[in-house]
Symmetry: C2
Subunit: 402 residues, 2 copies
C-alpha cells in the first residue's frame, strides 16, 4: 500500500495549486463585469489578447465556478458563475435552438460550428448552475439543450454538414463519451439533495456505453477515435487515429459509471482502455503524453501531433488516481506520480499562476497564453479539484486498503 | 556582381534536385493507373498511407506535369497530366458548379470546403493542361470555373458560411493574391503561341493588386493576412496574424505582374513586402521561416506556428532569386543562399527523394510523409523549376549586370 504521508503530501500540493495558483488567476483576470461572461483569451500574465468569447469555455467556466461554490460555499464563486450563466442564457443560443461557438465581447454571435459541443457544454453549465443557484429556470434550459443534443446525435442533418457519396460511414468516440458525461452531470451526485433521476437516463447511458466500447480493441489495448457505425476498423488516417488523452477521459467517465451501477467487469475494461492509452501515448524519449498517434506508426496528419497539451495530462491525473482508488493497486499510484511529476515540472507557470497549455515535444513552452479558443477555466481546476478529493484522507480508502 | 560560376553551381544543383530526385518520386509513386488521378498521400518511401484524393493537389499536379511537358516535350509528362485532368473533369465539379475538396480513390466526393481554392486550383490545372494538350475543352472548363470564382469572390453566399452579427468585416490576403496568379496563368506567357489576352484581365488584375496592397503597412514593413475591407488593421489574433511564406508568395506574384506592365514602383513595393516578411519570419535562433507570427509578439493561436514548412521556403527561394534577377542587387542572391542552405540542409530526403514537408522549430522532421492533404507535387517542383530558370545563364541577366 502507498504510504499515507506520501499521499497527504500530494494532496496538500494539489490543493494548494488549485486554491492558491489556479483559481485566483481566473477570478482576477477573466470576469467581464462590463458585458458579462468571461474574457477567456488571456495572455501569460492574465491580460486579454482577444476579447472574443468562446462558448465551450464560457460554459465550462460556469460549471467549474458552480462546483467551487458547492465545495466552498463562498458567494464570490456563485456571483462569478452567475456572470457567465446569465450572459450565456442571453446570448449563446440562436433562435433556432443551436448554440453558437463564439461570441463577441458584447454577446453578438461570431461563429457557429457544425458540431454539437457548444450545446453540450451549455448543458453542463446550466445544470450545475441551477444546482448552485437554486434557479430552476436554468435546469429547464439544460434539459431543453440536452434534448436538442440527443436529437442532433440521432439526426445530424441540421448541423449542415454535406453528406456525400464517397464518405465512409463513421462515428467518433467524442459523441457517446460526452453523452455519458452529460447524463452524469444532469443526474448529479447520488444521494445528494439535488440528485435528479430521469426515466430515460439509464437507457441513454447504456446506449452510450455500448457505443464507447465499439471503439476499443481489447486485443491491441487500443481505442480508436473514429470507427465504422458497428465498430469496424477503418484503414485511413482518421480510422488509425489515437488520441490518448481522449481515451483516458472516456476511461474515467466509464469507470465512474461502472462503479455507480456496480459493474466490476466494465470498470476493468475502462481501466484497460486507460492503461493502453497511457502505454501508447507516453513519449519514452522526452516524457509527457503525445496529442495524436497513428495506430500503425504512420505520421499523423495533424501538425501538432507530438505536442504535449495540458488537458490529456489533466485527464491522466484524474484517471490514474481514480483507478488507484477503485483497485487499490499501487502501480496506479506510481503511474499517477510519473505523470504528475512530468506535469508539475512543465505546465504550471511559477510567475503568474495557472498552467501553460501547449508544450513542444521536448518540453518547452510553445504558446505562452493561459486561456485561448480551446483552453479556459476548466481542465486544470477540474483535475486539481478531483485529484484533491481522490487523495483526501476522508475519501473512501482504496479498495485493497479497506 | 555574383560570380557566374557560383550561380552555375546552384543552377546545376537545383536542376539535378528537380529532375533526379523530385520529379521521379511523383512519376513513380503517385500515378493511379487504376482509377485515374493521383495518389497524393504518400509516406516517406512513396507508399500510400491514404487513398483519398485532395483536389487542391490533384489540380496542382496536373498544372506541374503540364509545365514539365512544356519544358521537356516528353510525352510521359503529358500522359501523366492527362491522367489527372480527365479524372478531375469527370469527378471534381459538383452539379451546381462548386468544386469538391476531397474525393475517394474512385472519384466519389468526400468533402466540400466553404472556400474557393479547389475551384482556383482547377482553373490552373485546366488552363495549363489545355495549353499542353491542345484540347480546347479544358480551356472552356478553366474559364467557366474562373467565372465561378469571380462570382464567389463578389458574393460568397453560396459558400454557405453563416453571416453573423458579431463578425468583424474582414478580407484575406489569400483571395486577391490567387486571383492575380490565376489571371497570369490564364493569360500564359506573353509572346507565346498560346498567349490569351481577355478584355477583362487587366481590370481584374488592377483590382487584385489594389486589394493585395491594402494588407501592406509600409511603415512597419508588415503585410497582414487579414484586414478590414478598406485595409483597416484589426486588433485580434486574426488581425495581427503574419504568414511570412504567404507574403513572399504574394510578393513574387506582384513583382512578376509589375515587371510585365513595367511598373518599377510597384515592383519595389513587392520586394519591400518580401523583405519585411523574410526579416520578420526568419528564426534567428534555429534558422528557417516560421509558419505564423503575431505582429505584436503574442503567441499565435495556431498550434503549429513555430514549425518550418516546406512551402514558405519554396516561395522564399523563388522570391529572392526573382528579386536578384530584377534588381541585380547581390544582397538578394546572398539572401537566397542563406535560405537555400537551410532549406537544402533540412527538407530533402537523401534516401527516397522529394522533400519532407514539416520540420519542427529546431530542424527535426516532424512528419515523415512526402504527400498529404496539403502537400503534393507542386511547391517543391515549382520552386526548383522556376529557380533553375532564374539561375540559368541563358535567362535574361540581372539588371545591374546588363
Amino acid at each position: 500500500m502507498v504510504d499515507p504521508a506520501h499521499v497527504a503530501r500530494w494532496q496538500a500540493r494539489i490543493a494548494s495549486e488549485l486554491w492558491d495558483r489556479v483559481v485566483p488567476f481566473w477570478m482576477e483576470h477573466s470576469l467581464d463585469h462590463e458585458h458579462g461572461g468571461y474574457l477567456n483569451c488571456l495572455d501569460r500574465d492574465g491580460r486579454p489578447f482577444d476579447t472574443k468569447k468562446h462558448v465551450w469555455l464560457q460554459g465550462r467556466q460556469v460549471w467549474m465556478l458552480s462546483k467551487l461554490y458547492a465545495e466552498r460555499g463562498e458567494t464570490r464563486f456563485l456571483d462569478a458563475a452567475r456572470l457567465g450563466a446569465e450572459f450565456l442564457a442571453r446570448h449563446a443560443v440562436a433562435a433556432d435552438g443551436r448554440a453558437f461557438f463564439c461570441l463577441a465581447r458584447d454577446g453578438r454571435p461570431i461563429a457557429l460550428q457544425r458540431k454539437i459541443f457548444s450545446e453540450c457544454f451549455l448543458v453542463m453549465a446550466f445544470a450545475e448552475y441551477a444546482r448552485a443557484s437554486g434557479d430552476a429556470a436554468y435546469r429547464v434550459r439544460a434539459l431543453a439543450l440536452f434534448e436538442r443534443v440527443l436529437a442532433l446525435v440521432a439526426d445530424p442533418t441540421p448541423l449542415g454538414k454535406p453528406r456525400l457519396a464517397g464518405q465512409t460511414p463513421s462515428v467518433d468516440l467524442a459523441v457517446p463519451m460526452i453523452l455519458l458525461n452529460l447524463v452524469a452531470e444532469l443526474r448529479g451526485a447520488p444521494g445528494s439533495a439535488t440528485f435528479d433521476d430521469r426515466a430515460d437516463y439509464d437507457s441513454i447511458e447504456r446506449d452510450a456505453v455500448a457505443r464507447v466500447l465499439r471503439h476499443f480493441d481489447p486485443a491491441r489495448g487500443m481505442t480508436f477515435e473514429t470507427v465504422g457505425p458497428r465498430g469496424e476498423r477503418l484503414d485511413s488516417p482518421e480510422g488509425r487515429l489515437l488520441n490518448p488523452g481522449h481515451v483516458v477521459e472516456a476511461g474515467w467517465f466509464l469507470a465512474e459509471y461502472a462503479a455507480r451501477i456496480g459493474d466490476r467487469g466494465l470498470e476493468s475494461t475502462a481501466f484497460a482502455m486507460m492503461e493502453g492509452a497511457l502505454d501508447q501515448g507516453w513519449d519514452r524519449e522526452h516524457g509527457g503524453l503525445f496529442y495524436f498517434l497513428d495506430a500503425e506508426g504512420f505520421s499523423p496528419v495533424q501538425l501538432e501531433w507530438s505536442q504535449k497539451l495540458w488537458w490529456p495530462h489533466c485527464e491522466a491525473l484524474i484517471g490514474t488516481l481514480s483507478a488507484w482508488r477503485a483497485t487499490g493497486e499501487s502501480r496506479w499510484f506510481e503511474r499517477f506520480e510519473e505523470i504528475a511529476d512530468w506535469t508539475f515540472a512543465h505546465f504550471p507557470d511559477p510567475e503568474y499562476g495557472e498552467w501553460f497549455g501547449y508544450i513542444d515535444r521536448r518540453g518547452e513552452v510553445s504558446q505562452r497564453f493561459k486561456g485561448g479558443p480551446y483552453k479556459g477555466c476548466f481542465h486544470v481546476p477540474r483535475a486539481l479539484w478531483r485529484c484533491a478529493g481522490l487523495l483526501a484522507p476522508d475519501d473512501q480508502p482504496p479498495r485493497a486498503d479497506r
